[in-house]
């Protein structure tokens, strides 16, 4: 006899072809786990035809006893052994009756390791699908903006005003802080290099062109992507989860007019204004560093700046900011609409919106600069 006939909380006695299990003591899942796993070895004894129970010494019990009994019942069924429950507590019998017969493990399609070509293909299809989605949204924005201008869009003016405030006044402190510091940093780093050549005064040129053409639109866009683009995605994704978008569609309110258009319009409108504000603060940051650390007078700095910054630089910066604002809003809305319906999807949508907003803005900036160079701007 190699197999045990006893374990913690039970003792088995064989009487002819019957096995009687004497259950005793406490059976609580939080205290002991070993007894849940003994059933296979217990019933694999030969010539047993019936399994009976004696629970007269059974103390407190919970799910661990049920796990033990249900697996014992399953083993008995497989080995065609009679499972006689009459000696069990009535409560345990009731719960055993509730238990479904052991179901085969759910068939889960094993994940096949996709080859490189397959992965590239799937990624390409995903990108293509995203491109189509974004292009559709851009086209729809243009068309519906025209309708809105003619007063034929179902956009609520109060929503538009709220989004304008959120993307404008509410964003001022963060945009101000970032651009003031960036202006100062660029002036400081550039000024140190120029000092070696005895050309500190050109720090005004450096700051002027860098801030107006590049840093003000770019840094503002990065701030707004993290702050506003991800918020748009999260709001719309949360609305998906709570079926608010289904409710809008069900009563015939155009989702684009109601949700997308006010957000895209607000951010596209506010971005050039924020960009001008950011540029002014960036220049002020540069001026402050030049005056305090490089002994350049404010008047000399301003005179030099006026000579360095052309109208085209300002227009290019503003054009960039409009494109960046549109991109951030459209990407945020698109990712929100595309999101699933769970809380996790809301987080994913917000993260994806911030990332794609920033990456897209940098890519657009590079495109603008290449085009500006080609046109001699």
């Amino acid at each position: 006899m190699t197999e045990p006939l006893t374990g913690r909380g039970w003792l088995a006695r064989i009487d002819g072809t019957n096995m009687v299990l004497f259950l005793s003591g406490e059976w609580t899942a939080r205290d002991d786990v070993s007894r849940m796993q003994v059933t296979d070895s217990l019933v694999q004894r030969s010539n047993i035809q019936a399994l009976r129970f004696d629970s007269s010494n059974l103390g407190h019990w919970d799910s661990s006893l049920l796990v033990f009994l249900s697996s014992l019942r399953e083993v008995s069924r497989r080995r065609r052994i009679v499972f006689d429950q009459t000696g069990l507590p009535p409560a345990a019998r009731r719960l055993l009756a509730l238990l479904l017969p052991a179901a085969p493990p759910e068939s889960v399609v094993p994940l096949r390791n996709a080859g490189i070509a397959e992965r590239v293909g799937m990624r390409a299809f995903g990108l293509w699908s995203d491109l189509i989605g974004i292009t559709t949204l851009i086209g729809e924005t243009i068309l519906r903006t025209g309708a809105a201008v003619r007063g034929r869009a179902r956009t609520r003016i109060v929503d538009l005003l709220a989004y304008l405030e959120d993307a404008g006044i509410a964003a001022l402190p963060m945009v101000a802080l970032v651009n003031l510091l960036v202006g100062g940093i660029v002036a400081f780093v550039g000024g140190i290099q120029l000092r070696r050549l005895g050309a500190e005064i050109y720090v005004a040129d450096l700051i002027g062109v860098t801030e107006v053409r590049e840093m003000a639109p770019l840094m503002t866009a990065i701030v707004m992507s993290g702050r506003t683009g991800s918020a748009y995605a999260a709001e719309i994704a949360a609305m998906q989860g709570s079926e608010e978008i289904d409710a809008l569609q069900a009563i015939g309110i155009p989702v684009f007019d109601y949700l997308i258009l006010p957000r895209v319009s607000a951010l596209t409108t506010m971005m050039p204004l924020l960009c001008m504000y950011a540029g002014a603060l960036g220049l002020f940051g540069g001026l402050a560093v030049a005056v305090t650390m490089m002994n350049i007078s404010a008047a000399s700095f301003v005179v030099q700046l006026r000579g360095a910054v052309a109208g085209n630089d300002i227009l290019l910066g503003l054009a960039k900011s409009i494109a960046f604002g549109s991109w951030i809003a459209i990407a945020g809305c698109r990712l929100g609409l595309k999101a699933g319906r769970s809380a996790t999807d809301v987080g994913h949508a917000a993260t994806a919106a911030a990332v794609s907003g920033i990456v897209g803005v940098i890519a657009l900036d590079a495109l603008f600069d290449v085009c500006a160079n080609a046109f001699g701007l």
């Binding site: 019990w61 507590p89 769970s342």
Partner: protein, 279 residues
């Protein structure tokens, strides 16, 4: 061979049918600055299915959250296991909270976990069980609530009824002494609601748990509850105590009578005013 009394089995509690497991005394509770109910007192008997009843806005779910320790009461006591639950520190309250199971409205499943993982998480967090034991317990709990498919599915892929069942299995994962149910029939069709009621009844009898449920679903209240309290939004206090079926047959309070008979009180009957009502 005879069966012995168990701690969790129904036999144990039937030895002390009048023994209160939860005592609420002069409880006042609310949200923020708003007082929802005051001077609410009742006892929940061990092994009973206790109903918290009342019209919408009467504070049923707020009371449930207060009983669970999610909201601090303004005044009064909640006695569980001889301790005033309200005056305990957070650690002790968390310890006691593990002896409760809760099914929130709609299941409130954690959306980043599968159905089985939802049930396993409390076991992983609060027991020392190994993985095989946890898997066995999860299978048991899901099987008990009748979920034979969808165990590896994400909550967003489950139907409302299945989410309810997974939520119930999660609530049962730590073998609670008291099971709290918030509107368990909400969103279920009548047949599913009846099955769910039967399941709760059977689990109560099997595990010997006490069940406290918030509901205004009359068939559920009459079908499974054997005690309860009725909260009134107007007077901001409990106006009736007893089993829903007994209140239906004997309570003469107009608000309770109107609720139980689904008839608005006479002073609430008004001429239709809207164009919809005029048809």
């Amino acid at each position: 061979m005879t069966s012995a009394p168990t701690r969790l089995g129904y036999e144990a509690m039937s030895q002390h049918p009048g023994d209160p497991i939860l005592k609420v005394h002069e409880l006042a509770f609310g949200y923020g600055a708003k007082l929802v109910q005051r001077a609410v007192s009742f006892d929940v008997k061990r092994g009973s299915i206790f109903a918290i009843m009342g019209a919408s806005g009467s504070g049923k779910s707020t009371l449930l959250k207060t009983l669970l320790g999610l909201l601090r009461p303004r005044a009064g006591e909640i006695i569980f296991g001889g301790e005033n639950y309200c005056s305990l520190d957070d650690d002790r309250r968390a310890q006691i909270g593990r002896r409760f199971g809760v099914l929130f409205q709609g299941g409130a499943l954690w959306s980043s976990l599968t159905a089985a993982e939802n049930v396993a998480l409390p076991l992983q967090m609060f027991t020392q069980l190994d993985r095989a034991s946890i898997d066995a317990l999860v299978q048991l709990k899901l099987s008990l609530v009748g979920l034979d498919t969808g165990r590896a599915s994400m909550p967003s892929d489950l139907s409302g009824g299945m989410r309810h069942r997974v939520g119930l299995a999660r609530a049962l994962s730590l073998d609670p002494e008291i099971l709290f149910l918030d509107e368990p029939s909400a969103g279920l069709d009548p047949i599913s609601a009846k099955h769910f009621d039967d399941l709760v009844k059977e689990l109560r009898r099997g595990f010997g748990m006490t069940v406290v449920m918030v509901s205004h679903d009359l068939p559920s209240l009459f079908g499974i509850c054997d005690d309860g309290v009725f909260l009134d939004a107007e007077s901001k206090t409990a106006i009736a105590h007893g089993a829903p079926s007994v209140l239906r047959d004997t309570c003469m309070h107009p608000t309770v009578h109107a609720f139980m008979s689904r008839q608005p009180p006479p002073d609430h009957l008004e001429e239709p005013r809207s164009s919809y009502a005029k048809g």
